[in-house]
Amino acid sequence: MSVTSWLQERFDIAAVQKFAAKKQVPVFFGTVWYYLGGVSLFLFILQVLTGILLSLYYQPGAATAYESVKFIVSKVEFGWLMREIHSWSANLFVFFIFLHMFTVFFSKAYRKPRELTWVSGMILLALAMVFGFSGYLLPWNELAYFATKVGTDIAGAVPFIGSFLTQVLRAGDEVSGATLSRFYSIHTAILPLVFIVFLGIHLIMIQVQGMSVPEAQENVPPEKKKTMPFFPNFVVRDLMLWLIMLNVIALLAVFFPWEIGLKADPLTSAPAGIRPEWYFMFMFQTLKLLPAHLWFLEGEVFGILMFGVGGIIWLLVPFLEKPKYTKLWTSVGVGIVLYMIVLTAWGYLV
């Protein structure tokens, strides 16, 4: 008796096979966008694997964190490679999620019936950013120390629960070794669990509903529409792309290593060139440009409110956007992308 028939007697796997065999991927100019989510998924898998390896040597704590990262990159065989892959794939992970999100936005793929897929995707994006923020502190270097001070202080501006949040995040009044323990737990226990739940939901919804096709393609006469089977054609292409990504990351790791920097010391001044991870740069730069007081609010509170409200609107786009105002939403999207690019570049150049 073959394994398949053994399984078939117990579970209806034929239904799954039939589903996989029937699934088709539309082929048109936008097909390449379909790979972005898959690439993000691959980068997440890399994160999990390298993260588990790093955790074998990493030791949280103000007196040990920096030293253990040094140990990993200088003493452990291929330790440098694991850390570089972890850092590089983390950065690319956020980058590809952003790219994925904007292509979905501009192709209006979030419209009915895919509203909840968008919402789950936005939650994944937010989680990825928290992943980045919490992981940034773990090497306990100067840059990360001050970026975390600023980041957790910003949390204090949230109305009502602000000071509670800052306290809970920092595990005290100041960023300290206790903060590091907390971030380690957030980064390696809480976030992975929550992320995997939402990732599962996201993937199931996509499988059930199939790929979204933009309107322009929808109107193409049926005889001109092309598709390819999801399995194996699309999957094989996906895997090939993953392989290419892995090679690109290995090259980046070798030729553009991430610096460890100086060990964090609460008794030094914040050095020039303090900056968060690049995906927070546009917000960081905005905070830099806002005056001390704006209207009746402190500049920072104004900035945080603006980004908070903006984020919520963005999360609810599928429910707010009406086909009548498609053009308007598209130009708002373009405006946001431009704003992010310009402020990020500005942040790095001056």
Binding site: F146, V150, Q167, E174, A178, S269, A270, L287, L290, E298
Partner: protein, 157 residues
């Protein structure tokens, strides 16, 4: 014919008994959840560390402190910046930027206090003069006794 909720036709006593039970159940559930969540929230808040009751800090020898330089000192749990001005006088200020908490530094070329995080500037009196900081830096007292520098809390501030 539309299906009806059988309860709608039941005697009024029964309905109210039912809704009473609903309320009871809801309240129990609520209390139960609360009793689970409350300890967790309390657990998340770190216990208050007794404030290291520092009232005065020995900051070293006055004649060894170069003019137009500054040092960051730890005052209890917080950093304090001690500046020796060009003229030789000392000035101590809280080193925590009032904007978003970075630690400030002394700029000897312009004789100002600068925060690198978002380009905040203060003068040597601690007044926020440009950039995002919304408030001045809290001053500390400096006294020099027999060539020894002492930094103390400024009770008037």
């Amino acid at each position: 014919m539309n299906k009806r909720d059988p309860l709608e036709e039941s005697p009024p006593g029964l309905t109210s008994r039912r809704s009473f039970l609903d309320i009871l159940l809801g309240a129990t559930l609520f209390a139960w959840l609360g009793s689970m969540i409350y300890p967790v929230i309390r657990f998340l808040i770190p216990p208050k560390q007794p404030d290291l009751n520092v009232s005065s800090l020995d900051a070293g020898m006055a004649d060894a402190f170069k003019r137009n330089t500054a040092k960051i000192l730890r005052f209890g749990r917080k950093p304090v910046i001690l500046v020796r001005k060009k003229g030789g006088e000392f000035k101590a200020l809280s080193a925590t930027c009032t904007h978003l908490d970075c630690t400030v530094q002394y700029k000897d070329d312009t004789e100002q206090i600068w925060c690198a995080c978002h380009n905040g500037l203060y003068d040597l009196e601690g007044r926020n003069i440009s950039g995002p900081p919304p408030k001045p830096l809290t001053p500390f007292n400096v006294t020099v006794k027999e060539n020894k520098i002492f930094v103390t809390r400024d009770e008037s501030a």
